[in-house]
Subunit: 396 residues, 2 copies
């Protein structure tokens, strides 16, 4: 029966308050949702009575006719990944400031579980922020048709986005390594589906070209500590004095792998991470990393979304680019002498790694040499860019 208690403890409604006040229910409604459209005194009286009766507006009932749930969804690929912590925090803050609540939804598992989680959450919210690296562009576009959408860390035509300035960040990292005296730097790549990975690798090639450093790619590893461990093995096969990693998790795993193989960081290998996640400052050694403006990423994303909700008319889709910052800690240093023990390239003779290095030509299959001109020149976005076209055009 409709009138049952249900799991929801039902309290007084506007009807109860109205009766108590001797006014019409609509007046009570207005007293709350449209103050000013009702006599100041009656409004005050209504509020007082409502207060003593313990009246609370039912958000469900309020949302049904209007579609205004005051809910936003933040879809992440893994709540457990520290990369998202500050993003979530930033998003919640911006949302709360606007009277919205964010529904954080985790869609890791299968594509099917993803679909299910989305189906459950999306109908409830007014808009969604997508922060899941491995979701396909087309799935994202489909989503964007159903609800106002903003995508994080990826640039898409048609869907507004908020991204870190990977290009400048990478540039800083490579400069730093160059200044320390490294001549060849490796990139421990992340998932192919990751837009950020593409940007980072590409930016690294550009930076390497301009700064005249040799650049090599290692791998494709899982974006986890585990993946970093794998990267350590790949590095043993194709040594380098410095490695920039797809993200901090990989960098941390790499450092651990390296140290368990007996290679000293940063004495023998310098390691740079990406993102500056929780934990990157207390790993050992503390990680030098390209800090993403995590909190800002989250808050800008919801602000962009809120803007989107406001727009009733079509308008320009834009990408917001937020500046990254190189945080230098203990995992990078001048290239040092290598105790050759930990490398495994039995074939190639040991070669001096400091000095005008020639990249080992006989590198493993996983490593690709790439030090050639690239189509576009270095990015030039203003550092504190809050919004505007991305400094770097997305890879077609």
């Amino acid at each position: 029966m409709p009138g049952d208690q249900g799991p929801q403890r039902r309290g007084p409604t506007i009807y109860d308050v109205a009766r108590e006040c001797g006014v019409a229910p609509s007046t009570v409604s207005r007293a709350f949702s449209r103050p000013g459209r009702v006599n100041a005194e009656t409004a005050a009286r209504i509020r007082a009575v409502a207060e003593t009766m313990g009246y609370r507006a039912n958000p469900l009932a309020r949302a049904l006719p209007t579609g205004h749930t005051s809910l936003l969804a933040l879809i992440v690929s893994d709540v457990t990944n520290p990369f998202f912590f500050e993003i979530i925090r930033g998003a919640e803050q911006a949302a709360a400031a606007a009277g919205y609540t964010v529904l954080v939804s985790d869609v890791q598992e299968s594509a099917q579980a993803e679909r299910q989680a989305l189906d459950r959450v999306v109908p409830l919210v007014e808009g969604v922020v997508l922060a899941t690296s491995r979701m396909s562009d087309s799935t994202i576009r489909v989503m964007a048709k159903q609800r106002p959408t903003v995508v994080l860390n990826r640039v898409l035509t048609e869907v507004p986005s908020v991204v870190t300035d990977n290009s400048r960040g990478m540039r800083r990292a490579v400069e730093h390594l160059g200044e320390l005296g490294h001549h060849t730097v490796a990139y421990a790549a992340g998932p192919e589906a990751s837009w950020a990975d593409g940007m980072r690798w590409r930016s690294m090639r550009e930076a390497g070209y301009e700064l005249e450093l040799k650049v090599r790619r290692l791998g494709r590893f899982e974006p986890t500590v585990r993946g970093g461990l794998d990267a350590a093995h790949a590095l043993a096969l194709a040594p380098a004095t410095a490695v920039v990693c797809y993200n901090d998790l990989v960098a941390i795993g790499l450092m651990r792998g390296l140290s368990s193989m007996g290679a000293r960081v940063p004495a023998e290998v310098s390691v740079v991470g990406f993102d500056n996640i929780f934990g990157s400052d207390f790993c050992s050694p503390p990680l030098t990393t390209v800090a993403a403006p995590l909190r800002a990423l989250g808050s800008h994303a919801v602000r962009a979304l809120l803007r989107e909700l406001g727009h009733t008319t079509p308008h320009a889709v834009r990408a917001t680019v937020l500046p990254a910052q190189l945080v230098v800690r203990g995992s990078t240093a001048k290239p040092g002498r290598r105790r050759h023990a930990w490398t495994k390239d039995a074939a190639a003779p040991p070669e001096p790694v400091s000095g005008p290095a020639r990249a080992s030509g006989s590198a493993s299959a996983a490593a690709a040499t790439a030090a050639f001109p690239s189509a576009s020149s270095a990015a030039s976005a203003a550092a504190p860019a809050r919004t505007g076209q991305p400094a770097h055009s997305p890879p077609a």
Copy 2:
């Protein structure tokens, strides 16, 4: 106007599907929410038509008459605290398995912001899991009156709870330290409002008494890395060869503080944490810690909550106690010789720390000596206890 588009893109309703199928709307409704109460064939036809029309039930409309939102709230004191990561994950898993979605809500800031966040979330959900250490017991009881509630990491009469077996965990930690040869162990205390802190300190005193180790309390520190840094200074004033920390964050901070003061961990000081959060394995040295069953904590909490929702009749309130496990890593070792440089007790002469230690009597005000009998004997919960009365009676 009620019929506008709103922010919500409205799709086909049961009325549309009904018309298309030549049946009544109520039949369509039944076809979905009460399969079996409708002819198998018509049901199939309805589903098919609905599918092609892209019909999706509106959860708001569904929830309004029934109060069944399929939403649960998980209130945490700080989404950013790694302690909650796996808890959230566990909760989401258990919820999803039951067709529920969890709304994670962060209520850090002010008590006022807390109230606001709660007001926004609670009316939407069918039940709530409270995982916020610093919320008062009375606030919790008030909450429990409004919605079915389960509280995490704290035992309350009247409200069902899920907790870690702090007692056994602490016991293991102290045993471990004792076996290594430590004679006096310090406890770096956490917030006074924390139920877990009370349990841990109390359990430590009991364990110390039974195992004949001296036990001292340091502090009350913020439950953060920052607090651990403070603990390092406190420890310099009142040295000990081993310290168990309120949680991993404090332990990590302590290790950092210690090492920046020139004290070696574990050579000079052994450090034990609590919880086994993300990061505790890659800090330096890797942290020995009492691992809380984080994931299980989350999933048991929602299962308990779901059970609560099922119960329509009053029933016994119970506490579920989940076993902790000592994870021995690199931060603990036999007590070694102390290079006295880092301690700061100018007053007291240096004393040998290994050997039948007498706790330094001239300890700082922050340190309290406590090695005396305690009222209750050691806990005796079965290790894999899934549920039942807590092994240790809650502090009145």
